[in-house]
Symmetry: C2
Subunit: 457 residues, 2 copies
């Protein structure tokens, strides 16, 4: 008995020291991961599907027919892949439409300016709004010069620093300007580089403040206006915007999964958002994230190895101007599937399917250590780095309810060149980077799903 107890203790100790006798990431997982990497990097179908989705169903804004047609096409294609279950989840979404829009510089020169009404903005009267431009460099600048704003179009010309900082002027600029009596507001597009490129995106109105139209100009034209004003010119602008908010519409989250062999109730969820802004094709934002997750699942299915846990892909709808898809998924998980505690890990790709670096993870240190081990399998693709901190908008509701989450990190150097513009097309991506993203998502998803241990919270 003593001897038996000794052996038992030794065994327990070895099991408890990962990487000694009982590695967390076992040989069979490594073999499958190698297969996944190889098949992902040699794969054409994913990029072809991404091109198809974004070429045919480009302006996939919530409430649009194009989005629903795109979703139909995705579901129809997924049926070919032999997943265990594919379904859509109804989501009520906002329905904002852009309509025709124009910005015309009337003085000191006449010029049509490329522009983009911001999602959620009200329109102008049919004849437009013509007013002098008051250019400000910050909210503080506006506050200080409050007396000048009355009857003006306030233009926020704020150089891009980080998205989080600069986007404040897009989201909150209209109400800030309206409080000082502005008749409309505009901003230099939230962009790290521009070739006369207007960037759209969502905005919101503060309760109790007059709703005024809000639009993005190009950074170049905002700077042109600033130069004119510095020369002492009075700058006059006419905005014509048909933008309006229609009654809510119906959309869908798309869900596909492979059931786990041992713990089918435990779920690794990964995905991106299927909706996209209406002025482009949403290739990088976020067709790429959707199709990469979908391809990762397809390639896992193709290995013939069924992981211990369920792997689920969700293509959330309405990330761009409401996050209703992500919120409905959480509600469904909590109230209907009752699977929140069994959501082991949520993974998102919404930073563009550029050359991947790895993942940014938010969760416990114990889980982090395991993910670092998994990342080592991606050495050949140089995409296995796990950084602390990260997530994504669509997995945010899950994460705020305790689910460990991580977002794919990529070379983001051009992300804000293309973000929310007509330039976000498939030609700005390349198949090798995309395939590496697929490999990275597939390896992390499969490994976490197939571990002996449940990823700790």
């Amino acid at each position: 008995m003593k001897l038996n107890k000794f052996y038992f203790t030794l065994f327990a100790l070895l099991v408890a020291i990962p990487g000694v006798s009982q590695p967390l990431v076992k040989q069979n997982i490594k073999e499958t991961s190698d297969k996944l990497i190889k098949s992902a990097l040699a794969n054409d179908l994913g990029f072809e599907r991404l091109a198809h989705l974004t070429d045919y169903y480009g302006p996939r804004l919530s409430g649009s027919e194009v989005l629903e047609q795109g979703i139909d096409w995705v579901v129809q294609e997924m049926e070919k892949d032999g997943f265990d279950r594919i379904w859509t989840q109804p989501v009520t979404v906002p329905h904002w439409v852009r309509g025709k829009e124009s910005a015309t510089l009337d003085a000191p020169i006449q010029k049509e300016l490329p522009m983009a009404s911001l999602g959620g903005s009200v329109g102008t009267p049919e004849e437009g709004i013509t007013a002098e431009v008051m250019l400000v460099k910050s909210f503080e600048d506006l506050e200080k010069r409050s007396a000048e704003a009355n009857g003006k179009i306030v233009l926020f010309n704020v150089p891009f620093t980080t998205y989080g900082q600069t986007v404040q002027y897009r989201v909150n600029g209209a109400s800030a300007a309206a409080k000082h009596g502005a008749v409309a507001s505009a901003l230099a597009s939230v962009a790290s580089y521009s070739m006369q490129t207007p960037h759209t995106g969502t905005m919101s109105y503060e309760e109790g403040v007059k709703k005024i139209p809000h639009a993005a100009l190009t950074t170049e034209d905002a700077n042109l206006i600033e130069r004119f004003i510095k020369r002492g010119e009075t700058v006059t602008l006419t905005l014509k915007m048909e933008a309006k908010n229609l009654p809510d519409a119906q959309s869908r989250n798309v869900i596909a999964e492979i059931k786990g062999s041992e713990f089918p109730e435990e779920i690794i969820v990964m995905g991106g958002h299927i909706d996209a802004w209406d002025n482009g094709h949403g290739a990088m934002d976020d067709g790429g994230g959707c199709v990469a997750a979908w391809e990762a699942l397809r390639l896992i299915k193709e290995t013939g190895v069924r992981p211990k846990r369920t792997i689920r892909v969700v293509l959330w709808t309405n990330e761009e101007n409401g996050l209703r898809g992500a919120n409905e998924y959480l509600r469904w998980v909590q109230e209907d599937e009752k699977s929140l505690d069994n959501h082991i890990l949520a993974m998102e790709s919404d930073a563009g399917v550029f050359d991947p670096i790895g993942f940014g993870f938010s969760g416990s240190d114990d889980a982090y250590k395991i993910l670092v081990e998994i990342g080592k399998m991606l050495k050949s693709a140089d995409s296995g780095e796990v950084r602390k901190g990260g997530g994504g908008a669509d997995i945010g509701p899950l994460m705020r309810n305790g689910v460990p989450g991580m977002g794919l990190n990529v070379d983001g150097s051009k992300y804000f060149w293309f973000h929310h513009t007509a330039v976000d097309t498939i030609d700005k991506l390349n198949i090798d980077d995309f395939n590496e993203c697929v490999a990275t998502m597939a390896v992390f998803a499969f490994a976490v799903a197939d571990l002996d241990v449940r990823l700790p919270r």
Copy 2:
């Protein structure tokens, strides 16, 4: 006597060996060059003038009022600089107008495509031209598939290699397509990078061939159409173009000069072209070249050192779609001023005022050697390299008549990102690069003008 003869021979020998006792580029030239470089690099006025010219008088196409207003402004500013003589030279120029234009993809998806009618193109009927797109990859491809072209819009989707090669489809595409029965033609913009950027530029019709409308789409949309066709789709496009050629109009070359102290009849001419395409602001092409040459002359004037020869700045009109300014200048030089033989050197900047490298020179080896010596004075600015071969469109007529010519070489990596587009604005340039271009032009112009020897042909 013998001793005298010895000394005389020694003296003659020393004079004959440049760089020994009698350097070609004497100390006083070096001192003035150093001053020029210093003053150029510390100068704000030039870049401010370039911003002013291009902000206020952007679409300076031949025949337009904007061009003539821009010329008036330049002349008025030049008056402040105290040059010995400033005048304009009447030039009869073509007058093409773009009017409204649109390209709409009708099938397999509906999409408004950014586009640019090409300079010189005829328009479409008011209702537009709607036809199936025949996409070709080269003139040879079109020849081979001639039978397919009848009634189609031929789209040349040819990847950018060099400007000289790719521009053939812009210049000659319409007649090539019309010969095979096409009803209109289009091409992927001549661009080395694109962010949904249509590039305009001049085109021409072959005599005796039906004139059909010719337009540029973006490279992205040409590739989108190619992907649709590869998927077996029938692609239908509607072009609406109001483009037309009006009767010739009047424009002007702008000329300013400092008279030489010893050989005033000998002329160093430098400049750029004052006209620009109508879809942008012509900052790099070629406001920058114009103002750099003008600033070089102003800074030479400011040194207080009058060079031995005359230095003349010419801002040629109508480079973009006719070269009438350059041809009229040659005619005037030959017939009126009778100064062709005394045109010592012609210098042009029309490659963008980006970080300068030096000059590309076409002329005799003896002249080349002298220019190489002059270039050494620009070591501090790293812009004194003289390469063999080079010139420019506006100095072409002079060069073909025996005048040594050279064109400013710069970092051209982004030139065909912006060329002939709305993106060609002052913000794509920077004051330091611009000032280095000014320094480079000033040093070469001054040194050649002040040499003891006349630059040999």
